[in-house]
């Protein structure tokens, strides 16, 4: 008890009171920033998860081309999961005026959607309103363009297969946007109970069966295991937040960014705690010596310090968590327009992670100083003795703990290790640079006069301390530069993901005779139209003389692509502008190929080659030179893989897994596909196109793009806020570290002033000294940022081409300006107060 009392009193009021407050501040900052990040990511993760759930209309989805076993439904319900069913098929639609159209019918039961809502309107292209449930028995909802194609209105009746239904609403958007699943025919939505009356499903019909589930994540995993889904080749499991797609990509990236910010905040905290602990230990040395003369032994001294660390940890964590919550609320306030839902409560992990991180950093970086202090010699009270410096191996302990912590936070092993090895190397590199610069700077010093001589002399005299300080300042700047660079790269990458004015409509099934008219119509309303590609459908049947199915079965991991399905294929002599070759060479253009693009000329005698998309080839184990047999409406052609290319799925332009070098067979029937951008005020062209060309298929992805854009805007704001948070933290740490190291730096200036040096001379020498410090710190920061970005950012943020980093332009000048201005500003105080005061302050 006496130790707690003593510890508490000496902590705040003893010799180290000021540095104890700094230690506490550093801890509060570390815990606060990390808490803000964990709370925000945890809750945003849950929010994005719930948004992703809306895209599946549930938390998980089982889908496939075969009926879902009925016992699975019972099993799900018995395990406390909510379920809903839907099935999709194609059927002919007839109006009472006998207009007809092939439609993509979807039937949903009363449970659908489990998450999300329909958007419907009272007339085609009308004002959308939300609708929680699908159509009632006997009713159908049609997508707006079907009204034009069939010449019907709301209230009319249409026939779907053999059944007759009343149209009650125009369908604007489905919660899970399933258009892409069923091949893009216009949608008809009906009740699940009406499917039998259509008689459209016969043995051999293409039907997509889906069962949506809602429940806790763990319950879903247990359910998935219990039904042994892996044994069912034709059914797939899709869980919210685990899939691919732009939303998942955006979230993966923000997670990577937050992880980096959290790691850097911890590094910043470690720097601040290390500096404050060093200062604390220096100030405490005499006090410990005094306590020892009063009879306190090393064990008791250690106990006092352990209590002090615990008091700091307790207070720091409590206030830090409060600050973290406040920062988090601030972030939510910034995002209030975008996050309209009530966020779920944060998980326990979001609270415990910052506590564990902060306490670990405190004990790892301040602990060794405290441990070492117990050795302070009591003779110090009788005779001035310098405190024993903490041996280097103690710093290694802190660094080791820090690496482990970042590994735990990030779930990565190699990257944090490499990053810290890089920082370690940078530290010694700086010392090497300083040592190497000693000779030329020494020569410059010998030849220089006045302020230059004084400033350089000061730098050279304390070169090793200067190197350490430059590294510390460099680390702080590195944190700032890294977070800023990551933010810039991330926003640019997202911008690319949803480029302004990118195509937001796809149109296909365009026949040769319609192409010119459609081209004219679209060109009159859109200024961003993709090229028109010839398109046919086909299926791979063999590879290198091995049946395709056998080949696929021999593969261990095929990824998420369905390799059994029919593919959209095209042929082209030019590589699409947004595609890049990964392996092999693109084929040279030939006149025969050119003509094949526009007309059905006979196939050339030149060898038939194909270009395969990288991920598709990778998943299917396809390699350059492989011979692939493709079935095109019953005709089989053999082609050799000439190259493998990467696609930009974000381009919103038609993309193909497989491209031939020429028309693969003279008997292939093809249609055309393109994509184009329509601004909201020109949407009526969609109706006009549907009415004039009922056979073409038109897909509107503007709504989906808008949601993605909103999500990205939301995440972009979060990124900016986190940048601000880290900027304020870094500035605070920078000011604190300057205030700690400044007295030592200003000592010579104070003496010079005492000896009668002019204000101008002192100011100029200070400028020179701090400019050199700023240059070295700027080099450390820029180098550290460069390494961190190349090895970490590219991986975690999935940024392919980082390019030249702009920090090399502004990093060094900025650190020079900040350090020189702060140093000289602080130095000014020496010039305005009597030298005796300054001497007292710096000695």
């Amino acid at each position: 008890m006496k130790h707690i009392k003593l510890a508490n009193r000496l902590l705040w009021r003893g010799a180290g009171g000021r540095s104890a407050a700094m230690l506490l501040f550093a801890l509060i900052m570390s815990v606060g920033v990390v808490a803000c990040l964990t709370l925000t990511t945890d809750r945003l993760k849950q929010l994005v998860y719930s948004q992703a759930s809306h895209l599946l209309a549930g938390d998980a989805l089982i889908e496939g081309a075969v009926p879902i076993p009925s016992e699975w439904q019972g099993q799900a319900q018995s395990q406390g999961l909510l379920i809903a069913n839907s099935l999709a098929f194609r059927a002919m639609l007839f109006s009472q005026e006998e207009a007809s159209q092939l439609g993509a019918v979807r039937a949903v039961d009363e449970g659908f959607p489990l998450k999300g809502q329909f958007l419907v309107a009272s007339k085609p292209f009308g004002e959308p309103v939300e609708e929680a449930k699908g159509p009632a028995l006997g009713e159908v909802w049609l997508t707006s363009r079907l009204f034009g194609a069939l010449g019907v209105s709301v209230g009319d009746k249409i026939a779907v297969g053999d059944g007759e239904f009343r149209i009650t609403k125009a369908l604007i958007q489905e919660p899970d946007n399933p258009q892409s699943v069923m091949g893009f025919a216009p949608r008809v939505l009906m009740h699940y109970g009406d499917v039998d009356s259509t008689r459209a499903i016969a043995p051999g019909s293409r039907v997509q069966y889906s069962m949506m589930l809602v429940g806790e994540k763990d319950a879903l995993i247990r359910y998935k295991d219990s039904i042994a889904l892996a044994k069912h080749n034709h059914l797939r499991w899709n869980a919210a937040g685990s899939g691919s797609g732009p939303e998942a990509d955006a979230f993966k990236r923000i997670n990577g960014y937050v992880l980096m910010v959290a790691s850097l905040a911890l590094l910043l905290g470690a720097v601040a705690i290390g500096l404050a602990a060093n200062e604390f230990a220096r100030n405490q040395n005499n006090q410990v010596a005094l306590l020892k003369t009063l009879g306190l032994g090393p064990r008791a001294v250690l106990l006092v310090f352990v209590w002090q660390l615990l008091i700091l940890a307790l207070l720091g964590c409590a206030v830090g968590l409060f600050a973290g919550w406040a920062f988090h609320q601030g972030l939510l306030a910034v995002l209030s327009n975008l996050i309209q839902q009530t966020l779920p409560s944060p998980a326990w992990g979001a609270w415990t992670t910052p506590i564990i991180s902060g306490v670990t950093v405190l004990f790892a970086f301040a602990g060794p100083h405290f441990w070492w202090l117990r050795k302070a010699s009591p003779m110090t009270v009788l005779r001035t003795q310098h405190a024993m410096a903490l041996p280097y191996q103690y710093y290694l302990l802190g660094i080791g703990v820090m690496i482990s912590l970042v590994m735990l936070l990030s779930g990565m092993i190699l990257l944090p290790l490499l990053a810290f090895l890089g920082l370690f190397a940078a530290f010694y590199l700086v010392r090497l640079i300083v040592v190497l610069s000693f000779k030329p700077l020494g020569a410059l010093h010998d030849y220089s006069k006045g302020a230059w001589r004084l400033g350089l002399g000061q730098w050279l005299r304390y070169r090793y301390q200067n190197a350490t300080q430059a590294t510390v300042f460099g680390l702080i700047f590195m944190v700032l530069f890294s977070v800023y660079t990551a933010r810039t790269q991330l926003l640019a990458a997202w911008q690319q993901q949803v480029p302004e004015g990118a195509p937001n409509h796809f149109i296909f099934n365009i026949f040769d005779h319609q192409k010119a008219d459609i081209e004219n119509m679209i060109a009159g309303h859109s200024d961003n139209v993709s090229p028109y590609y010839a398109m046919t459908r086909g299926r791979i049947v063999a590879i290198n003389n091995l049946p395709w199915e056998e080949h696929l079965q021999s593969l261990e991991n095929r990824g998420n692509i369905n390799y059994e399905r029919e593919l959209n294929l095209t042929w082209s002599d030019t590589l699409q502008s947004d595609n890049t070759l990964k392996e092999g060479e693109w084929w040279p253009p030939s006149p025969v190929i050119d003509s094949a693009m526009d007309s059905n000329v006979t196939a050339s005698e030149s060898p038939l080659l194909i270009s395969v998309e990288y991920e598709y080839a990778n998943g299917a184990g396809m390699q350059l030179g492989d011979n692939v047999v493709v079935s095109l409406a019953g005709q089989e052609v053999t082609a050799e893989i000439a190259n493998i290319r990467m696609l930009s799925w974000q381009s919103m332009r038609p993309n193909f897994f497989i491209i031939f070098n020429r028309i693969p067979s003279p008997f292939v029937a093809n249609s055309w596909i393109t994509s184009f951008y329509l601004p909201p005020d020109k949407k009526n062209i969609v109706n006009a196109l549907s009415q004039r060309f009922p056979s073409v298929t038109l897909i509107e992805v503007d709504q989906a793009l808008l949601s993605l854009k909103k999500l990205i805007q939301q995440l972009g704001l979060a990124v900016e806020y986190l940048l601000l948070l880290i900027v304020f933290s870094a500035i605070a740490v920078l000011l604190a570290s300057i205030s700690i190291t400044l007295p030592v730096r200003l000592r010579a200036a104070v003496l010079m002033r005492t000896f009668g040096a002019s204000r101008q001379l002192i100011m100029h020498s200070l400028w020179i000294e701090f400019i050199v410090l700023g240059i070295v710190a700027g080099i450390v920061a820029s180098l550290g940022t460069e390494l961190l970005m190349r090895f970490w950012l590219v991986k975690t943020l999935e940024i392919d081409a980082l390019g030249f980093l702009s920090i090399w332009y502004w990093g060094i000048p900025l650190s020079v300006v900040v350090l020189a201005a702060t140093g000289v500003f602080s130095g000014r105080s020496i010039l305005v107060v009597p030298p005796t005061h300054s001497l007292k302050r710096t000695m």
Partner: protein
């Protein structure tokens, strides 16, 4: 009460020649016996080893050879933990530079050794001693706001509050002007006498030394009685 037997110590070597001889000899076989309640001054020129000897006598440091016995406990053979226990039980200090903790008030500074020893009613005792040294009206003042003489009075109160049998004073008037120094010296001798404490005073001030019952002079590493 305090016995020193064949105490030898040398400073670290500055050259290879010195190193082969075990460094620069500083204390070269010190022997003395100090009785309970006696006041003893140790005098000597600057650099003669007075402070080093004080450190050994008070158990702040350990000599290379020899014994230092406090109440028959050889503190030279104890580890740091053991020496700390002996200091807590037997020793109090008054320093030239006062060694008060700036952040604590005068009262809290005096309480400090009492709290270290876990004594009962530390505040009451501390207050009593501060009043005894004439600082009853300044108990809540920070040392920085006190004059040099007042600070040394706080240090005296801290030293006497523990009622330790031996009081070591290292140049207690060294940082004070003559008049204040004399006042502090008067107080020191008066209180030590009242408390029947053994006073070991290290000083180069012969006038102050002469107030002690014995004067020991340290010269060329040897301690000799001065009469």
């Amino acid at each position: 009460m305090l016995d020193v037997i064949d105490l030898i110590h040398s400073l670290p070597a500055m050259s290879d020649d010195n190193a082969s001889q075990g460094g620069n000899p500083l204390l070269n076989g010190i022997n003395c016996h100090i009785k309970k309640g006696q006041s003893v001054a140790i005098v000597g020129a600057s650099g003669s080893g007075k402070t080093t000897l004080l450190g050994f006598l008070a158990g702040l440091d350990t000599p290379k050879q020899g014994k230092v016995l406090i109440d028959d406990i050889n503190i030279a053979a104890l580890d740091e933990e053991g020496r700390a226990a002996v200091r807590a039980q037997y020793v109090a200090f008054v320093f030239q530079s006062f060694q008060l903790i700036d952040g604590l008030t005068a009262l809290q500074n005096v309480c400090l050794p009492l709290e270290v020893k876990d004594e009962s009613a530390p505040q009451k005792k501390a207050k009593k001693w501060l009043e005894r040294v004439g600082l009853g009206h300044r108990i809540h003042h920070n040392p920085k706001t006190l004059s040099g003489g007042e600070q040394q009075r706080v240090a005296l109160a801290r030293a006497f509050a523990c009622a330790s049998p031996i009081l070591f004073a290292d140049e207690p008037t060294g940082s004070l002007d003559t008049q204040t120094g004399e006042q502090i010296a008067d107080l020191l001798f008066q209180l030590a006498s009242e408390q029947q404490q053994t006073l070991i005073l290290v000083t180069h001030d012969l006038k102050l030394a002469k107030r002690c019952e014995r004067i020991l002079t340290l010269k060329n590493g040897v301690l000799s009685e001065t009469y």
